[in-house]
Symmetry: C2
Subunit: 343 residues, 2 copies
Amino acid sequence: MSATIRDVAERAGVGLATVSRVVNNSPLVSPATRQRVLNVIAELRYTPHQAARSLSLGKTLTVTTIAPFFTRPSVVERLRGVEANLADSGYQLIVCNVETVERRDICLRDLPRKERSDGVLIISLAPHPEEVTALQQPGVAVVLIDTYVAGMTCVFIDDQQGGYIATRHLLDLGHERIAYISDPLTDPFNFTSSRDRYAGYRQALTDAGMPFCESYHRSGMHGRYEARRLATELLSLDRAPTAIFAASDTQALGVLEAAHDIHLRVPDDLSVIGYDDIEIAEYLGLTTIRQPLFETGARGVELLLERLGNLDTDPVSERMPVELVIRRTTAAPRKLSSDAERR
Amino acid sequence: MSATIRDVAERAGVGLATVSRVVNNSPLVSPATRQRVLNVIAELRYTPHQAARSLSLGKTLTVTTIAPFFTRPSVVERLRGVEANLADSGYQLIVCNVETVERRDICLRDLPRKERSDGVLIISLAPHPEEVTALQQPGVAVVLIDTYVAGMTCVFIDDQQGGYIATRHLLDLGHERIAYISDPLTDPFNFTSSRDRYAGYRQALTDAGMPFCESYHRSGMHGRYEARRLATELLSLDRAPTAIFAASDTQALGVLEAAHDIHLRVPDDLSVIGYDDIEIAEYLGLTTIRQPLFETGARGVELLLERLGNLDTDPVSERMPVELVIRRTTAAPRKLSSDAERR
DNA sequence: CCGTTTAGTGGAAGCGTTTCCAGTATACCA
DNA sequence: TGGTATACTGGAAACGCTTCCACTAAACGG
């Protein structure tokens, strides 16, 4: 159907090897021959057959990215970073979306195999110990994004630090009743960010000599609606929090809605801080913790490409910084009401 | 390095062909042999080599999706539809992001080739006539999403209708000065949606006997910031519009910002309607035109898989419906002020 | 009981590349 | 002038799989 290297060779009156050399820019071809071959290639619209190429080469020329819920703004942004750096590398990007635990397990087991892909990028999914062992088998290069596992190459965020900074910000403003809304701290996907941010939250509280109140921590399925529900619960508490730290901007939106529902004004009656700094955060004036989403993806690919060149590289891990972005949803608590309530 | 079919065959004491048959669920294997082979496969952690498989099969087992600006909410949602329906099909999804015209041209020329992919999904990019010819060459199955081209298989949206409905809604509310903000009507990517929606806008105006005012149409680069700038221009006109139809929700956000900048209240002083019904639209109470984003992606894959089975299928095109979603950013214009200004 | 079908099996060709190896000119050096 | 390095070139093996074809042994019908 389409032209093969043999067709080109015959038509140009040269050997197969020569055509291959031309295609691969080998210097061992005389200019005259090269030109003749190039003409025939153009004439026949010849394109090398990927599968044949990779079979012969022993490489798939392919990089697989495993991403959970790849429509979430934060994931999309990381993916963009991945794509941007992979586009000109000659590798194709295979994207695998994970929305169920079964698929998570299948993907982590079957995809990182030499027969399928030269390299694998795993976003936000922390492999279990036995999976780590499998991932370390030589043959496939693996880079973890947004996750830290000792002994593997990772690009990650210091989420504990992020949680700390967010809470610290609220403490600095004078808040004493600070709640935290997040995904479940342990979940079957093995996401670590809610857990790490929680640890930072607790640490900041402790460092400030502030007691931790169990009922100020609520967790539930990721998403705006669930966060709205949790925030509503929180806000109807006897001693309702004056500030809520949401583990993601999306969840912060839910908190904002809940506040709106009961006619609480933000930041006057309630301070809200999110996490991620997704695009809409700026629009809404949401105070948040910015993490370098695009950059983690981009850097992850860089590390992967390096490892692809040399598989024996020692694993490296890079921590990316987070940053507090103060906008319009956090402010000092109203002394009056909180004092009144307290006495 | 990793086990091949030969290793399995030797270890199980059977022929290559038998192993292949087991792997591919051929009925021509006795239960006993099958079990023996399966045991060895498990033991050796054997996985068929993709490239070898596809070379032998003459198929790449791969589907490529070409998407412009794949982080835009509307595109992400379509991609999710694509992924959802492709996940269990046995085909791998290769994603190609297009953010420059050069890459658009390269992708449209090089990717839809039998040697690279069994099928190609093209999102929102209308091929030029000469590209259409190339895309119709047998060998690759191509499905266009969000674009209509005669003679090709497409899943598209009636954007003209959408533009009409949006404008009609504003007219019905009593607006007489309705502006339209969009991407440039003709652009090098050959996006058609802004153009079609514009046509609907004009048509609705005409049908209502309303004159079209050139200065009420502004176009610029896609995005919130540009839309905000254009809206600001519009709102500082002598006879400023009382309603603005934005060609996307993202742009509608920019309009909302512009209104906020000059302390115009929405919908009291200004009605705003968007397009797409992206997730944030509901949160913001944005009136908009909903288009079935996920569904176009999902349906596109279905059609592609059908064509993959039988390449000689006649091209079909399916139009998906749009729907007006009325929320809180549109209302009747304030008679008082508009009358006052007019006289 | 003997042909004939049928289930199960293995060998080998072929998919389209890359690349090692061997070969043939031509150029260069002594 | 002969020998050797040099610049190209082509043949063929190999990559790991699928599948056609040939084959054997058992089952079946007359």
